[in-house]
């Protein structure tokens, strides 16, 4: 089955979440069709606030055609997309006419894949599956996600996604609660990473180094990935800059120190992770 056919096969199930949403682990159950809104505030329209072909991602992905969707289930205090991520009313409607034209344009720019990004794409799964299932020549699909989705949502991506780019942000539940506002973060993300690794898709675990969080976040994440998913590509991002409300959080109001990226790569190499560029 092609990616497009898999998208179509999961469409009816995905649409059921429009009336009782359990796409992310907030499991709010709201009826979006009736006007209900959960923590992500998303309705039944997905909106693209930016799309472009980018060349700064992991080497195996570039050039990649990124579709940025507004709306997110997390509230990371340092979010680089800021209100574009948190306000799902921003951007143009994700509809087939636009999507098909954009995909064709991306190909002319040399894009090797399309990549769904946010915000968080999972909260818009029904609309994304709709446009992909109606796309006549769908390129390989990358899914850049916070991995705070439910097992149901992840299952509906099976066969659709070629590459998962999983943002594993926090190494413990205390940091997660303080910095992105959710409970039980670590268990949820780890469960989903294991499940994704069993799908027929490439899995990249990405970690954005946060200043002062090397010991509490980076190291536990690196050691867990080495122990449980040693075969996956581990991507260390050292481009942290304070955005959104990071200036109000102790320790996060400064850029990452220059030495931190190299130190993290050295540790990751020592413990045997497959660090990718």
């Amino acid at each position: 089955m092609t990616s497009q056919q898999s998208a179509f096969a999961h469409l009816a199930e995905a649409r059921r979440h429009d009336t009782a949403c359990h796409l992310c682990e907030h499991r709010c159950g709201v009826n979006r069709l009736a006007g209900g809104r959960g923590p992500c505030k998303a309705g039944t329209v997905a909106r693209v606030f930016r799309h472009r072909v980018e060349c700064g991602e992991e080497l195996e992905l570039i050039p990649s055609h990124l579709f940025y969707l507004s709306g997110c289930d997390l509230r990371c205090v340092f979010c680089i997309a800021e209100l574009d991520a948190f306000d799902p009313s921003r951007g143009r409607e994700l509809a087939s006419r636009f999507f098909n034209a954009a995909v064709e344009w991306g190909k002319t720019q040399g894009a090797r894949n399309i990549q769904w990004i946010g915000g968080e794409p999972t909260i818009h799964l029904p609309r994304i599956l709709e446009v992909m299932s109606a796309c006549p020549d769908l390129p390989p699909v990358a899914w850049k996600s916070d991995f705070h989705m439910t097992p149901d949502a992840l299952r509906m991506l099976d066969g659709v996604v070629s590459t998962y780019v999983a943002d594993y942000k926090f190494g413990n539940d205390q940091c997660a609660k303080a910095l992105c506002g959710v409970e039980n973060y670590v268990g949820i993300v780890q469960r989903n990473l294991i499940a994704a690794s069993k799908q027929n898709a490439r899995l990249i675990v990405r970690h954005l180094l946060l200043p002062g969080h090397e010991t509490c976040c980076f190291e536990p994440i690196a050691r867990w990935v080495q122990e449980h998913l040693p075969q996956v590509g581990f991507s260390i991002r050292d481009g942290y800059l304070p955005h959104w409300r990071a200036n109000k959080v102790s320790g996060l109001s400064i850029p990452l120190p220059a030495y931190a990226g190299e130190a993290a790569r050295e540790l990751a190499g020592k413990i045997g992770l497959t660090v990718i560029q």
Partner: protein, 71 residues
């Protein structure tokens, strides 16, 4: 709104931040920006890796297209 205006609106936007210690941060990296920065910072291994990879990918694509035309 025409297809052109739908498609082109935000495709050439790259955000650059230069911190006081001279580090350059890029969000939404386009090919021209990588070329430019590689010229300005020739010893940067990340930029070199990105550029080499993109050039290799382009060569592969051209070579594949050429093979397809000859088939």
């Amino acid at each position: 709104m025409s297809d052109d205006s739908i498609l082109q609106e935000e495709t050439n936007v790259t955000d650059l931040t230069i911190t006081v210690d001279g580090r350059v941060y890029i969000a939404g990296t386009s090919r021209p920006v990588i070329e430019l920065l590689a010229d300005l910072q020739p010893g940067n291994p990340r930029l070199a890796a990105l550029l080499n990879h993109l050039r290799r990918t382009e060569l592969d694509t051209k070579s594949q297209a050429s093979r397809n035309m000859n088939d």
